[in-house]
């Protein structure tokens, strides 16, 4: 009896301690990334959320900034998938970071939630690639200090097809001539993948939104234009009941495998897959997206960079760190080495373009358009892919496309 009671008591005590420890951790944990209250004695701390792959690349810049100004820069490694939601939830509580890494198309959502502050790049704006500045600008203000520009391009197996294709039909013909059943693969899936199909859509002159002097104009929905319907018709002809070039059963993994196995010679994908192709022993060349029409096929450009928190207690240091440190060629090249994505700063981009792969993506990027950051884009994404998947699988192209435009318009008006 005594022994049993003692054991229970001990267990109870352990449980209580664990509970309190948990409670302590909970408050301590959320406190840890905060640390942003400048104490009177020191110059304070900047907390920066960085995606896990790039923490090392920023360590040098952080250390040299601390050395120069006495401001401690605390880098917190975050999972790229949760960084945006965490930021939106934590900033209003005053416990978020001063700066977070992010993608440019978050700008609308972050600004609607009031968690980001505009940046002033001043004259240094001219030092960045124009597309990076375009993408970083939302509603007339720059919200993002860009460090990389990312877009998709066609990876070509140069051993199978030595010459780039002139246009879309030429690409398929070249592949067939080389004896390939499925010369071209692109990531789709049951719900479609409009990001990867967008270059072909722009080839028909059908952007999603029109533009005004402040950037994309949410009130000017262009997706349902005549060009959009032509694109849908063309897509239907390349789908299940047509040539079968597009197939919703091909997802990212299947497309990758087909290219690595040499069953496909052209693969429309992003720089994130180049490593796998090279490791797979493929002689990779980077081509522009072959247009289905005579027009240029422009992919979306995604720009990565740093946002400044609206609730940062140390805005001066944060601005200074971003504009005058992250915006230097040295740091941009460090970040480039960590991710192998084209730097956003002109000088760094030129240096990085010594690599033929990067130069290839940069050439395609010159034709790219920034992905819209306006929140209305959310209404587009949720219907866009599914409509494209339906068309690929044999639905009536024009009717499906009209319904898409109507659904999107209704969702935006709501």
């Amino acid at each position: 009896m005594m022994v049993k009671k003692k054991g229970l008591l001990a267990a109870g005590a352990v449980a209580v301690v664990a509970t309190l420890a948990l409670a302590g951790c909970a408050s301590g944990g959320s406190d840890a990334p905060a640390g942003d209250k400048p104490s009177a004695s020191s110059a304070g701390t900047l907390t920066v959320w960085v995606d896990a792959e790039r923490v090392d690349a920023l360590k040098g810049a952080a250390a040299s900034y601390t050395e120069k100004t006495g401001v401690e820069v605390k880098l917190v490694s975050k999972d790229n998938n949760t960084i945006k939601d965490d930021f939106i939830q934590q900033v209003p509580t005053g416990k978020g970071p001063d700066i977070t890494m992010g993608a440019h198309d978050w700008a609308g959502e972050l600004s609607t939630n009031g968690v980001v502050a505009p940046l002033e790049l001043g004259d240094s704006a001219a030092n960045y690639l124009p597309i990076a500045i375009d993408a970083a600008t939302y509603e007339g203000s720059v919200y993002l200090l860009p460090y990389a520009v990312e877009n998709i391009a066609v990876l070509r197996n140069a051993d199978l097809i030595p010459e780039p294709a002139a246009n879309f039909d030429d690409m398929i013909a070249k592949g067939k001539a080389a004896g390939l059943e499925q010369p071209f693969v692109v990531e789709q899936g049951a719900e479609g993948n409009p990001y990867h199909l967008y270059p072909f859509q722009t080839g028909f002159g059908a952007p999603v939104f029109g533009t005004n002097d402040k950037g994309y104009d949410a009130t000017d929905l262009q997706i349902g234009s005549a060009g959009g319907e032509q694109f849908a018709t063309w897509l239907g002809a390349q789908g299940k009941n047509g040539t079968g070039v597009f197939n919703t059963d091909i997802d990212g993994e299947i497309a990758k495998q087909a290219f690595l196995d040499g069953k496909a010679a052209f693969w429309l994908t992003g720089p994130w897959n180049v490593g796998a192709a090279i490791d797979g022993g493929i002689n990779v060349a980077i081509d522009t997206v072959p247009s289905p029409t005579g027009e240029v096929a422009s992919p979306f450009a995604g720009v990565k960079g740093f946002y400044l928190s609206a609730e940062s207690k140390n805005k001066v240091a944060a601005n200074d760190f971003l504009v005058n440190y992250i915006g230097t060629e040295e740091v941009q090249l460090e970040l480039f080495k960590a991710g192998n994505v084209l730097p956003a700063l002109k000088a760094a981009a030129e240096t990085a373009s010594a690599d033929p792969i990067i130069a290839g993506f940069a050439a395609v990027g010159a034709q790219a358009v920034p992905m819209p950051a306006i929140p209305a884009m959310g209404a587009v994404w949720q219907y866009w892919g599914i409509a494209e998947a339906d068309v690929i699988n044999g639905a009536d192209p024009v009717a499906t496309w009209q319904k898409l435009a109507a659904d999107v318009q209704a969702a935006i008006n709501k």
Binding site: A13, A23, S27, A43, P92, V115, D123, K313, V316, D320
Partner: protein
């Protein structure tokens, strides 16, 4: 033990002093155990108090008075309970109650609270944060205005900006006094760095007054249309004009370009007369709005009906199929005549041993229409649209869930079967009952007494089986006729997830309202079922 027994025997023994010694020994033993317990108790409580103290200091720095109060009261209560002599039941109950409060009551209460607010995209923080975010995003740099070199000067408590224009002219000004030229500034390489009667701030001092300096706005002239000079970093300044004017007393925002007045009308955002809102807004309690919307919103109501029906079908069929397959196999493997039972049993448990979301992903791959293992290898290239046909997708989900769920039922049925006495079956057989009758009239009712609560729990689990749906079909194939992104295999919880958390507009308030509605449904069903289960228990 035998010694103790003999000691208790009331029989005169010649070793009286040794008995007393033994008694003394017992007391000492008991006392020493008590000391050990006391030690553990004191150490545990000490650790706990130390942790609480740390937490209090951390919270003190953040001025979280309410949480500090909770920690102090909780710690005090725990100390009082465990240091006291009596209160034995409390000592056993406290840890459980604390866990219950933290992980159940708090979460439920908070969810309920969110259900009554407009928390979501655009209504994310407090009104002050919304105002400051609006004001800062309303600033627009005056077109073609240059970058000015700036030095921050202090005079008493007033912050001033010393500005060197690109043409070399030097001006000074503060929040009240517009910029005016000065000629006696100290220069350093073409930039004015100081002025008599003022103290120039060092970078460290600028950092210490970060907020005040970024908020400092020095009018360029008496005319507000010329804009005001602001400095984001303390060394360069830019001319801005603001598109919004905030009147705190009236609670209005005025768009200076169009003249539209946005008023705070209690809906959590500045709203114009035509209903247009300025975002970001802020969080407010909106009463039952979310619940009304969950049940009446046209775009949700239509899909809600068939999603609810499918959720019930899915949960009921899943429980029924897994239970009967599990029971059948349990009976088969419970038969002594079966050879290699242990081997088969291990094999049966395997699906249960894999993480279910992983299995669901693997199944999703195997069921791919053109490249999946089932179509390619088992069916010789037949293109069966397992996951892309609305009906077949539902069947596939039930099949996969059967595969995932039957081992659990098999396990509990095996256990329950073995607890039924053999004599019952023998007696029934002697009375002339056939095996089916024995099973239906004797074994099944006895089994259900112990298994019914598990079946109810299993129903509740499958009712909210988000993992399986999300990983296997993600609710697809999409219902392209529905106005919201909902699919043919979406159950309530996955629909809520899509409505509330996908895309760029989150609506935590609506999601919480849905969660509470689902909770109520599951609770009602469970209560009714448990009532019925009591009737089964009366059989005994």
């Amino acid at each position: 033990m035998t010694n103790n027994v003999s000691a208790d025997v009331d029989e005169p023994t010649p070793e009286k002093p040794s008995k007393r010694q033994r008694q003394a020994g017992h007391i000492a033993d008991a006392a020493s155990v008590g000391i050990k317990v006391l030690l553990v108790k004191i150490i545990a409580l000490g650790v706990l108090d130390a942790l609480a103290l740390t937490a209090i200091f951390i919270l003190l720095a953040q001025r979280e008075w309410l949480v500090i109060g909770v920690v102090v009261v909780a710690t005090g209560l725990i100390n009082w309970i465990y240091l006291g002599k009596r209160k034995l039941p409390a000592k056993y109950l406290t840890p459980g109650v604390i866990f219950l409060l933290i992980f159940q009551v708090f979460v439920l209460g908070y969810t309920a609270y969110i259900g009554f607010t407009n928390y979501g995209t655009g209504h994310n923080g407090t009104k002050e944060q919304a105002v400051s975010a609006l004001m800062s995003s309303a600033l627009e740099r005056v077109e073609d205005s240059p970058t000015y070199a700036v030095t921050v000067l202090e005079q008493g408590d007033t912050l001033n900006l010393l500005v060197t224009e690109p043409n070399g002219e030097v001006m000074v000004g503060n929040a009240e006094t517009p910029l005016h030229p000065v000629d006696n500034a100290q220069m350093d390489g073409g930039k004015a760095v100081g002025l008599d009667g003022y103290t120039a701030l060092t970078f460290q001092e600028i950092l210490a007054q970060s907020d005040a300096i970024t908020a400092l706005s020095v009018p360029a002239s008496e005319d507000p249309n010329d804009g005001a000079l602001r400095t984001p970093d303390g060394t360069s300044g830019y001319l801005y004009v603001s598109n919004l004017e905030y009147d705190e007393a009236a609670g209005t925002m005025t768009d200076t370009a169009t003249g539209t007045v946005y008023t705070d009308n209690g809906s959590g955002a500045f709203t114009a007369d035509d209903g247009q809102q300025l975002l970001p807004g802020w969080q407010v309690v909106v009463g039952a709005d979310n619940f009304v919307r969950a049940l009446t919103d046209e775009s949700i109501r239509g899909p809600l009906v068939y999603v609810t029906i499918w959720t019930f079908v899915f949960a009921i069929v899943s429980v029924a199929t897994t239970f009967f397959l599990g029971l059948f196999l349990a009976i088969v493997f419970n038969d002594m005549r079966m050879r290699g039972r242990k081997f088969y049993r291990v094999l049966m448990i395997l699906p249960y041993a894999f993480p279910s979301f992983l299995s669901a992903l693997v199944w999703a791959g195997m069921m791919n229409e053109s490249f999946g293992f089932i179509n390619q290898v088992l069916l010789g290239g037949a293109a069966v649209p397992w996951l892309t046909d609305p009906t077949l997708a539902k069947v596939s989900i039930l099949i996969v869930n059967l595969w995932l769920g039957f081992p659990y039922m098999f396990l509990v049925c095996t256990g329950a079967l073995q607890s039924i006495p053999e004599e019952l079956q023998e007696a029934a057989t002697v009375d002339g009952a056939k095996p089916w009758a024995v099973f239906r009239l004797i074994k099944l009712p006895l089994l259900l007494v112990s298994l019914a609560p598990l079946l109810i729990a299993s129903f509740a689990f499958n009712f909210n089986n988000f993992n399986l749906i999300y990983m296997l079909t993600n609710g697809g194939p999409r219902d392209s006729s529905a106005p919201i992104p909902v699919g043919h295999t979406d159950i309530l919880i996955s629909m809520v997830y899509k409505v509330a958390f996908t895309g760029q507009t989150r609506d935590y308030g609506l999601a919480s309202a849905f969660t509470i509605l689902i909770f109520i449904v599951v609770a009602i069903i469970s209560i009714i079922s448990f009532r019925k289960t009591k009737a089964l228990e009366d059989l005994n």
